[in-house]
């Protein structure tokens, strides 16, 4: 067991040494892998952020129910009681037409225009928070409310959010396809690097076979090399993404201040970071394994 560990430690050390020898070629390889990985992963991070942002809006979907301008106080009371009893409705807020006008005056610079109106054009309204955020339930509720007497329009405020969510789903799929393609590229890069290594170490492999090296002994340094190169590529991708996000966050802070919010891009979560590293390690190992399986058999001592 101890021998076994020692052997693996030695192989790991020599693989590390070989990756950076020659240093420029090794670094370039790692950069290629890192950039290839950082593209899909970076897009994934941006999508995650967009989804997070979306969640803030669409997690509390709202229905606005606008009444006819002819609605009386009696009708309003009746509707309010009806809404409060309704099983799909969590809470109800009444916004009178006077309040709405006030708010409009405060929030916009249309003060002069509004003052020029001879009568209040705004209807009375209810803001309704439903229990569910399921699109199907919401749509059913909207139709039901729209058909009530004295209701002019019932409007689902977060409809746009659902459309955006569908769009993001589509973008997610695109990222997945991109990630698959670039994973193949990573495997190809490792495959080729290992092929070159096997060619340059042909003598060593042949002599080792002649003096009793098993195939797994010969394969091991190449597998370590591939896995290590993949892992270093993964770390590079992680750093590239972290640095890019930090750079983006600075102007973003200024931008979001203009919108009176404080939105910042979040980096990779711990689980996602670990997945990235493990996945890149695995891809490197796989590329090396494919290459070694294909090329080692060709070297038989004669």
């Amino acid at each position: 067991m101890k021998h076994w560990l020692t052997q693996h430690r030695l192989v790991l050390q020599s693989a590390l040494r070989r990756i950076f020898n020659p240093p420029v070629a090794g670094l370039l390889n790692i950069m290629v892998i890192g950039i290839a990985l950082s593209l899909p992963v970076g897009m994934y991070v941006l999508l995650q952020n967009a989804q997070g942002l979306l969640q803030q809006f669409s997690s509390t979907p709202q229905l606005s129910v606008f009444l006819n301008l002819t609605a009386k106080a009696d009708d309003i009371d009746k509707l309010r009681k009806q809404f409060e009893r309704h099983p799909s409705i969590a809470s109800v807020t009444f916004v009178s037409r006077e309040t709405a006008l006030q708010q409009l005056k405060q929030n916009s610079e249309l003060d002069d225009v509004i003052s020029g109106l001879d009568k209040n054009p705004l209807p009375d309204a209810f803001l309704i928070e439903p229990n569910s955020s399921e699109p199907v339930v919401l749509n059913a509720l909207r139709t039901e409310l729209a058909n009530l007497p004295q209701v002019e329009v019932a409007q689902l405020d977060s409809a746009w959010a659902y459309k955006l969510a569908a769009l993001l789903k589509f973008a997610n799929l695109a990222v997945l396809i991109l990630a698959s393609l670039l994973s193949l590229a990573l495997i190809a890069v490792t495959f080729n690097t290992i092929r070159l290594q096997i060619l340059t170490q042909r003598d060593e492999i042949e002599v080792s076979k002649l003096i009793g090296a098993s195939n797994s002994f010969i394969r091991r340094p190449f597998l370590y090399f591939g896995a290590l190169q993949g892992l270093l590529g993964g770390i590079t991708a992680y750093l590239l993404i972290s640095i890019s996000l930090a750079l983006l966050n600075y102007p973003l802070a200024a931008l979001s201040q203009l919108y009176a919010s404080s939105f910042t891009l979040h980096g990779l979560s711990l689980a996602d970071s670990l997945s990235l590293l493990l996945f890149s390690l695995y891809l490197g190992w796989l590329g090396a394994w494919l290459s070694v399986s294909k090329h080692l058999a060709a070297i038989e001592p004669r």
Binding site: K2, T6, L10, V207, L210, I211, G212, A213, S214, F217
Partner: protein
């Protein structure tokens, strides 16, 4: 220890390297394989090491039938053999010490134990002082001795040597023969091929297997 029974080896080109060769070499015996170049000496040694397989007959080494061993079992056969190659097969990307270390790395020896064994082997062939040198800086005789050190470092029970004195001066050749003799004295089984009859002059009573065009011509009984 090594036993050939009606072994025939024909290469894919149709060239018949060995025809109907049978002999036995007992444990601890030292045998010389003689004959002109092209007589089949190298092929015979390759059959012992499982580098080639016979077309007919059986090759038994340590009781194992080498001809039908699975590829996965070959490494374990070879770890019990020491092989001195005609072309040395040294690695020039590492120094003398690391060349000898290779079989021990393959065998999974611990570092301290390995270093001890490597130095003992180098000492035996008189290269202890050159352990840091690159093999390319060694003379032909020294390279041959380095190859021997690598062959014996994992203390094999059988030592195969293919033309170990092939390109050496008589003095160097004599040195190397003395080294082989010392292994013989500690009980290693040796099979040494040579086309140079001069080497045998100082060994009166040795076992000789003589090949001519793939056929065994002479098989003296073991003496010494």
């Amino acid at each position: 220890m090594i036993s050939f029974k009606q072994v025939r080896k024909r290469y894919p080109s149709g060239y018949e390297a060995l025809s109907n060769v049978s002999f036995d070499i007992a444990t601890g015996e030292m045998a010389f394989l003689t004959g002109h170049s092209g007589a089949g000496k190298s092929t015979l040694l390759k059959l012992v090491a499982g580098i080639e397989r016979p077309n007919a007959g059986s090759v038994l080494v340590n009781g194992q039938n080498v001809g039908v061993l699975k590829p996965a079992a070959l490494p374990f056969l070879r770890r019990n053999l020491g092989i001195v190659f005609q072309d040395h097969k040294l690695l020039f990307d590492r120094n003398v010490f690391d060349n000898v270390l290779l079989p021990l790395q393959i065998g999974g020896f611990e570092h301290k134990e390995s270093a001890k064994r490597v130095r003992a082997a180098l000492d035996k062939v008189g290269l202890l002082k050159r352990e840091k040198a690159n093999p390319i800086a060694l003379s032909g005789g020294e390279q041959q001795r380095l190859c021997i050190a690598r062959a014996i470092v994992n203390r094999p029970t059988i030592l195969l040597a293919d033309e170990p004195t092939g390109n050496l001066d008589a003095d160097y050749a004599q040195d190397i023969m003395e080294i082989f003799k010392s292994f013989h004295q500690v009980g290693v089984t040796l099979l040494i091929s040579t086309h140079d009859a001069g080497v045998l002059r100082n060994h009166d009573k040795v076992r000789i297997l003589n090949l001519k065009q793939g056929v065994l011509q002479l098989n003296t009984e073991g003496a010494a």
